[in-house]
Amino acid sequence: MKRLVLGGNDAVAYAVKQSHVDVVSAYPITPQTSIIEKIASFIANGEMRTRFIKVESEHSAMAAAIGASATGGRVFTATSSQGLLYMHEVLHWAAGASLPIVMANANRAVAPPWSIWAEQTDSLSQRDTGWIQFYASNSQETYDLLFLSFRLAERVKNPVMVCMDGFLVTHTKEPVAVFGDEIEEFISVKETRPLLDVEKPEAIGALAFPQDYMPVKIEQHKRISSALAEFKTLSDQFERISSRRYDPIYTYGEENADIVIVAMGSNAETAHLAIDLLNKEGIKAKLVKIVMFRPFPKDELIKAFEGAKKIAVFDRNISMGKGGITKDEIVGALGINNVVGIVCGLGGVDVTENDMVKVAKDVLDGKIQEDMILWGGR
């Protein structure tokens, strides 16, 4: 293990380099570009033995990934925002065909107006495409989650998206513990399988009448749902090698908190500071960070919220006409009514620990009871 100073994008590229990826197909978009540039340079240097298909669009990036994966290859791609939305049709295809593709998504606000800055509405609006979704908060997490994602995708036969807030995670340079050979025993295990085999000629994805279609979808739902348990198994193995632990959710602060801050991605980094400040003031507070958003970690959240008086969910995303998306997911899954949703940081607006402290206190005191949009103006 050595330490390198890496942004999230660099960390992704290093992980891909070490993951024996057969095929990369990708199309550039800010702030994802440095991932694929780095991969291209690794291949050019001979550090990576991978076929890089330089496609003409994101729709084709995912389509080529689908073909490569259906033939039994380990496949990676990366995109962001408009590119992810452009893939939408084929995202469903990848998941429906049970293909273990791994994709990094740099979370970026959706136009118009044009924006290149952090927001999670892009990937959260792909919620129902059947992809497993992780949200990383820093470079180390992006690096580690990539390895876990390849193994998890292949284990449960389902694609995985690793999301990172644009610039805040993709470009913030931090020391990252980078593996040497010790990761080999974990990452060299490939559970890919060719669906397309000339010795066993089958048709994949043929027209299914209702009585055939529904069982296939039930099977798919079971497959992705099994990712919660499989992730834990793989995490155990990964922890033995790395001494770093990953779970569907992560908590920080007072175990028996009165106020819980829920965050995902870069907001969770800031929330650590907010929790420290609140605890210093004698307010029992904790952070619950959602690491795995799909499948949704319902049971883990129920446990983490036990005894909490109030829960403040900070969403750097918005479902127009409804509000914060993770807040809605939590209420929908858990059926609880002590939750307030705070939409914040759209289009890359800074969300500070002081913002979080103030809102958390007001939520706890009952001064804020309704969902709100955190916006102080210019």
């Binding site: 197909s25 389509a63 080529a64 073909g67 490569a68 397309l196 000339v198 043929a206």
Partner: protein, 290 residues
């Protein structure tokens, strides 16, 4: 030349009787053999190949999204290359809608990268699967459900062969089921060459073009003889005309197809003019780049 005896495609496929696209696949697979993987987007062949649990092509088939044929095929080939399986042919098999229209971007991408695949467009000159709507491959004057008389298709058919030729790929050919040995030879040649190969097959469609189902071969032949469909190859940039049209009376071709029943006179003339112009252009190319 003897047509290979082995039948890879199953005879209980779901095409309409007289379907040119079904016959084209049967011949193509005879040429390519069993070590072939086929990618099929949304089109009539989605149905022809059979519903869930069936695979009448007899080789592995990946059913894919409408616009993705060339990209999926490129991805399949990339993994095969990494696996060292160089003896497997990857073929994209799409209709005119999936090629001339929605799949053109992916096709252009794969052609420009020179991905080692065979891309086949079976061209029935409309969106048949969704019920005969016009595509950019529909000829001038043809009636479809979105170009109903009196507002029949008023723009010429896109010249896809030349669009692909602009990508400077190793092999491009046109073929019809009326000349099966010519078609098979072209697939064999495509299989033997590395890089991007494109084969354009005119595929008469009895319900879509409105003609009796036993006239498929006759119409395919007439298309060549009238000059409506030119049989030629572009191999490593060199043009070769395989069959010089006899320039038979175009009306003979039009009059046996109900889709031209309501074609106004001036559009018939426009079609004749377009045929002449295309042939003259091809002659010049064959002379200078033959």
């Amino acid at each position: 030349m003897i047509i290979p005896k082995e039948e890879i495609m199953k005879s209980n496929h779901l095409a309409c009787p007289g379907c040119g696209a079904a016959l084209a696949m049967r011949l193509a697979l005879k040429a390519l053999g069993k070590k072939t993987i086929v990618v099929i987007p949304a089109c009539c062949w989605t149905i022809i190949n059979g519903t869930w649990g069936n695979n009448f092509a007899g080789v592995p088939v990946f059913h894919t999204a409408f616009a993705t044929t060339a990209a999926v095929a490129a991805g399949i080939k990339a993994t095969l290359e990494m696996q060292g399986k160089d003896d497997i042919t990857v073929m994209g098999w799409a209709g005119d809608g999936g090629t001339f229209d929605i799949g053109l971007q992916a096709l252009s991408g794969a052609a420009e990268r020179n991905d080692d695949i065979i891309y086949v467009c079976y061209d029935n000159e409309a969106y048949m699967n969704t019920g005969i709507q016009r595509s950019s491959a529909t000829p001038i004057g043809a009636e479809t459900t979105t170009t109903p008389s009196p507002i029949v298709k008023d723009r010429p058919k896109k010249d896809l062969m030349e669009i692909v030729a602009a990508h400077d790929v190793p092999y491009i050919a046109s073929a019809t089921v009326a000349y099966p040995t010519d078609l098979i030879k072209k697939f064999q040649k495509a299989k033997s060459k590395k890089g991007f190969k494109f084969i354009h097959i005119l595929s008469p469609c009895p319900p879509g073009h409105k003609f009796p189902e036993d006239k498929t071969i006759e119409i395919s032949k007439l298309a060549v003889e009238t000059g409506v469909f030119l049989l030629y190859e572009i191999e490593d940039g060199k043009y070769r005309i395989n069959k010089k049209p006899k320039f038979k009376d175009l009306d003979e071709y039009l009059d046996i197809q109900g889709r031209f029943r309501n074609t106004p006179k001036e559009q018939r003339e426009a079609l004749k003019e377009a045929i002449k112009r295309r042939w003259e252009k091809l002659l010049v190319k064959a002379e200078h780049f033959g």
